[in-house]
Symmetry: C2
């Protein structure tokens, strides 16, 4: 197949750098991914508008498809990169449209994020969801943007499989009617002693403040990840991504 | 008690900034912590050489003890800070001497880190160890420095309780004689189907390469954290801190 090759102009570098900001990504409906593994994982799943790579990368990835394919030196890629450690390939993808039906959700285990702030935590949670076969993550409007470059990188490609939805969590919970809603609280009940259902919504809260009051009122199963020795008082907590992993692992263990 | 107050000179700012480098921290046997919660957690545990804080912080923490206590403006603190987000208190602590006896270890669950590289991952693992009552972490000499400012911050104070030892992991394992050594591998056995002992060494590997060949040969229980749906092939993996948490939680659950 003949591929028209484009120039990597200053304007294009400027355009890519502008995508560090959420408002610019939103306006164009795009996001940036960098690195061989990540771009490779996403290429089959999302429409690629612009692919910028070194000659070496292009030579060994001849079947990569994009609206524009641009050969660039590593130095040029470094100027465009949104990361501390530039890579030999960078791609601009269309943001996917993620749909769901309430019927799907009612038969699944899903995660809801109530104002998670750290881009790395969000990316790690998406990767955890992928590992534990959780297909949908619902994010409050105050949750960090999934297309933040740090989030995209931290997903390690899991973004290709996990569907992300930004919405009002109270409205979602209301529309799910009598659906089990789980949340973790320092005064919750030992999760190992509680019944866990095969489908349900697991709510994880903000790094500093936990689950907001409004959402806490809608949780009908308050869980606690026991520390050890059990019952020893602690003022500490687990990182939100770490807690998500321990909870998801336990839900899945029960289904074995 | 009368406390002599010192000036926050340019030299002191320069000194603190020099502690971003491991060789300077090592030479002086010190490390830097920043922020109210972290400094507060560490003050009772480690000898503080220098405490720099705003007038407000000092007024509400009158019993803080340090060799030198320095009042500084937030702007001055910002110039000394090793973090992106400067805080209203910064402290230089002595690096603790962590001892252990083989007898202690033989009756404990411990973690060994084989060249973990990311400072944030190391800090998160220390926090996880604290939550799950794991008192000792052994690090290969190639593991990132525990006194890296990003690691110290990520521990959220758990550094006050978890003891860190840098050593040769093969020598440690040899000296423990017939001690259970666990490791996670993509071709390991489902950890939910394996016997887990109350004491043992859990080895976690490098972010990119996993457990090194040499150490892998010394692991006598190869575990796997099952993904879901179980048995579905995956080329993916979990972040090392996330995997540590899921494994530690399972070891502790069995002891309930």
């Amino acid at each position: 197949m003949f591929l028209e090759r484009f120039m990597f102009s200053k304007n294009k570098i400027k355009y890519i750098r502008s995508l560090e900001l959420k408002k610019n990504r939103k306006e164009d409906g795009v996001f940036v991914a960098e690195g061989h593994k990540l771009v490779g994982d996403l290429l089959g799943h999302f429409h690629c508008r612009m692919l910028v790579a070194t000659a070496d990368w292009l030579a060994s990835n001849k079947d990569a498809v994009a609206d524009e394919i641009i050969e660039a030196s590593y130095e040029e890629l470094s100027r465009a990169s949104l990361l501390k450690t530039p890579q030999d390939v960078l791609a601009v993808f269309n943001q996917p449209q993620s749909d769901y039906t309430l019927e799907d959700i009612k038969h699944s285990l899903c995660i809801a994020l109530d104002d998670v702030q750290d881009p790395g935590n969000l990316g790690t949670i998406i990767r955890i969801a992928d590992w534990f076969g959780i297909e949908h993550i619902f994010c409050s409007q105050g949750t960090v943007d999934v297309y933040n470059p740090k989030t995209v990188q931290a997903t390690m490609g899991a973004l290709a499989r996990v569907k992300m939805h930004y919405c009002s969590l109270p409205s979602l919970i209301a529309s799910l009617e009598d659906f089990p809603v789980y949340g973790t609280f320092l005064d919750g009940k030992d999760m190992y002693e509680e019944t866990l259902s095969a489908s349900g919504l697991i709510v994880m809260g903000n790094e500093g403040n936990g689950i907001s009051k409004e959402i806490a009122g809608l949780v009908n199963k308050r869980l606690y990840i026991p520390n050890y020795p059990k019952g020893q008082e602690t003022s500490e907590s687990l990182n939100v991504a770490v807690a998500t992993a321990v909870i998801c692992a336990e839900f899945r263990r029960r289904l074995q």
